[in-house]
Symmetry: C2
Subunit: 223 residues, 2 copies
DNA sequence: CGTTTACCATACGGAAGAGTATGGATTGCC
DNA sequence: GGCAATCCATACTCTTCCGTATGGTAAACG
């Protein structure tokens, strides 16, 4: 007889055994139909979290439904409710995972650039051309009414803003201006995410996009 | 005997008798509970559209439910489905109303400024200090996955972008730079909306905010 | 003043999705 | 091989919300 509100021995323990790479390949089917079960091994909580993040990136937080996710993974709800106590718990775990791993990819490489003058232009160009890892961020930006994503986004945005502020200071701006310039830069980044691969506003092509990025660099970064 | 899919004589006709001011005051209760019926006159389709826009501004497009709206207006669904054929029709009407009336307030005043050099700074300062009419736009920005809002936002953003582009040209920028500067400016505007009254990111106070606006003007507008 | 029109309440049907209960299948371990 | 832990399927319940059907009430109008 199971306990009323929970499992007897569920892996809900926020296990610190992080496996970054996936053990099973079953999270790369972007649009697989039902009756396509690529690998019918068992699932882990991590699989659910990664699939949740992928679904969030593609269709937004509002589309995160457990039965839809189960269909996509080739199982039913019964599997889900063994790994997670509730849908809210899955969202929490997925957001936590994203906050911990999804960051270092961009900011980690930039910190290795020693010359402070070269750092900001390189950051701009890299972010502009590697927009794929920012799709989750863009999706979460549209879910800021959701109480669970607000603190996560506040922390992430705060960290990025601080990074930008110190970068502008090291580039020669006085502290007050560096903070305001960081605000302006980050707002431009966020707005660009919204206007482009959620709305497809100017439907800009590649060479024109490069010109826009260089215009941004020339306008925002002090010589 | 009513027709199967529609009403006999419903005011669905997109009536061109525009009444901008509300006839009845019953759309200003931001959080009134049930059992508070301020004025129990009858409702019109316009009342529903205005209430829908207010609800969208406060809680987003996803919160636009007909039974919730009916509760807020002190009636039941029976009223709603007399005025509108479906929920989708209400959203369409509300968006159309917003697109037609919600614009001229800002851009109309700016166009009366004759000096092209003074126009952009004045636009920046006004938009920064009258953020209230932009709450619907911010809410719609978070609903860009919704198929109904995409064309509306595309049109509105396109018009604003073109306005910005010509303003920058009249301020002395060459055409290519004017377009890119308009992109940058509008992205900063959109990002600022997201980061501030959806996320409350830097929780900036008033005098610091004024300094930020002046910094924006100094950075983005050519001397 | 009564009839028509406009507006609303009540009650229902149905779909979608969260969460529960429970038994079955599979894996790891002794 | 057998037992226990792990993972999943099936079959429910409950809630929410869209939409329909239909009768009722208040306003408009002759």
């Amino acid at each position: 007889m199971r306990s009323v509100a929970g499992h007897e021995n569920p892996p809900h323990s926020t296990s610190l055994t992080f496996r970054i790479t996936n053990v099973r390949g079953c999270r790369y089917h972007t649009h697989m139909n039902v009756s396509s079960k690529p690998e019918r091994t068992r699932l882990s909580a991590e699989d659910w979290e990664l699939a949740a993040l992928q679904l969030i990136a593609e269709q937004g937080v509002g589309a995160l439904a457990v039965e839809a996710l189960a269909r996509q993974l080739g199982v039913t709800k019964g599997s889900f409710y063994w790994h997670f106590r509730t849908r809210e718990a899955l969202l929490h775990a997925a957001l936590e995972r994203w906050e911990q791993y999804g960051e270092r990819e961009v900011l980690g490489q930039i910190e290795q650039i020693t010359d402070p003058r070269k750092r900001l232009p390189e950051l701009f160009r890299r972010v502009a051309h590697e927009l794929q890892p920012h799709r989750v961020y863009a999706a979460l930006l549209k879910a800021l009414d959701h109480p669970q994503v607000v603190p996560v986004m506040a922390r992430v945005s705060q960290r990025r803003m601080e990074f930008l502020t110190t970068a502008y200071r090291e580039a020669g701006l006085p502290p007050g201006e560096a903070l305001n310039r960081a605000r302006l830069t980050y707002a431009a980044y966020v707005g660009f995410l919204q206007l482009n691969f959620t709305l497809g506003l100017p439907r800009i092509n590649l060479e024109e996009f490069d010109a826009y990025v260089e215009h941004m660099i020339a306008t925002l970064i002090p010589a």
